[in-house]
Amino acid sequence: MGLLTNLRDSISRVTDGLFAADEPKRIGIYGPPNAGKTTLANRIARDWTGDAVGPESHIPHETRRARRKEDVEIERNGRKVTIDIVDTPGVTTKVDYKEFLDHDMEKDDAVRRSREATEGVAEAMHWLREDVDGVIYVLDSTTDPFTQVNTMLIGIIESQDLPALILANKTDLEGSDVQQIANAFPQHETIPLSALEGDNMDEVYTKIAEYFG
């Protein structure tokens, strides 16, 4: 199965490559919960299409279904790159409804949110396997990047040979440590930004065009 699956993936990649000029690349925005993925997706979508992708929240697992914003045209240095942005649910190895109870949520709602978040992780992992051509990996630069989830996801992305851009988000917050993220994944370029404030988005767009164009 694995061999044939790989074969199919390869064919899919080759096919995608053939139509690269026409078909927009699907860029998955991945990362742990509450890293600012949706904030970034909304920032990109608003900057280039005027629309938002989905609601943002400080409560983890606000995004529990992958949301796609298609045909986002990004112009950089006279070059136009069209991508589909897939904002994915935060990936984690444990989901516990109790963490939602701290956010003034009733137990029933917390349990439901927990279940949906778990489904969301499954969906995110599925998309990563089947349906993305590149990854924007968003990390909260105020938290420790050396986690099992980050290591595993970056490993999967590398094993798939997917182009990956690592973003150190939340540089507007005190305690932001971009270097720590750069140290954690030295094999990748780390771009600092604040998706919320729009800081350093120019460099982010330049890199998106460079990596996924």
């Binding site: 044939l4 190895t93 349990v111 927990s114 279940r115």
Partner: protein
Amino acid sequence: MPHQCTSCGRTFPDGSKEMLSGCPDCGGNKFQFKPAGATDDAPAGQTGPAADQTGPAADSSGSPGGASGSPADPADQSRPTPDEGSAPTADDGDAERRPSEPADATPTDPEANADAAAEPDGTEQIADRSDEDTAQASARSEVVSPDELDRASQDVEPSETPPAEAEPQPGIDALRDELNDQFESIRIVSPGQYELNLMELYDRQEYIISLQEDGRYVIEMPDAWGIQDE
């Protein structure tokens, strides 16, 4: 009369081989050791608890007795040693009496020095006769500390590795398989609490669309193209 059967009270001289197969009179294999210099009143308080132990101990006396059943052969002296070692260990329960023993035992036997000097660790500073090996003497002489017991048990394991090592290999594999089986892509710890195996979620072709309260879940099957490939 250093050795006394705790069951019937029969006494044996220090280093006696008679008791190696258990007490010839009653078959008991629990003995208390009282150095020659010790006073006679000590055993009085010990007979109670010691007698309690003789029941189960007597049951197990068969095999040690068999193993050491050739006292006439001097070359066999090394074999009774482990058995002899276990008997004093049982006596170690009398901790209140033991600590005073080495001091008493040391001067009792003038012949001790010769054998004790041969011991590299210098622990055999006690009575030791020519017809008694040093391990025997050591076992009688000191109370084994808990630390020593731990170390001894750890040391024993490596020496038994040939048979022991062959077993763990399939055991570990079986355990790993079992764990792999147990570790599903999504484990429901309790309602609202989930553990996810990301690699498993990533690897599987179908994907879980929705989880049900009762632990069931809905998956999206791979398309027909994928199924034919299976």
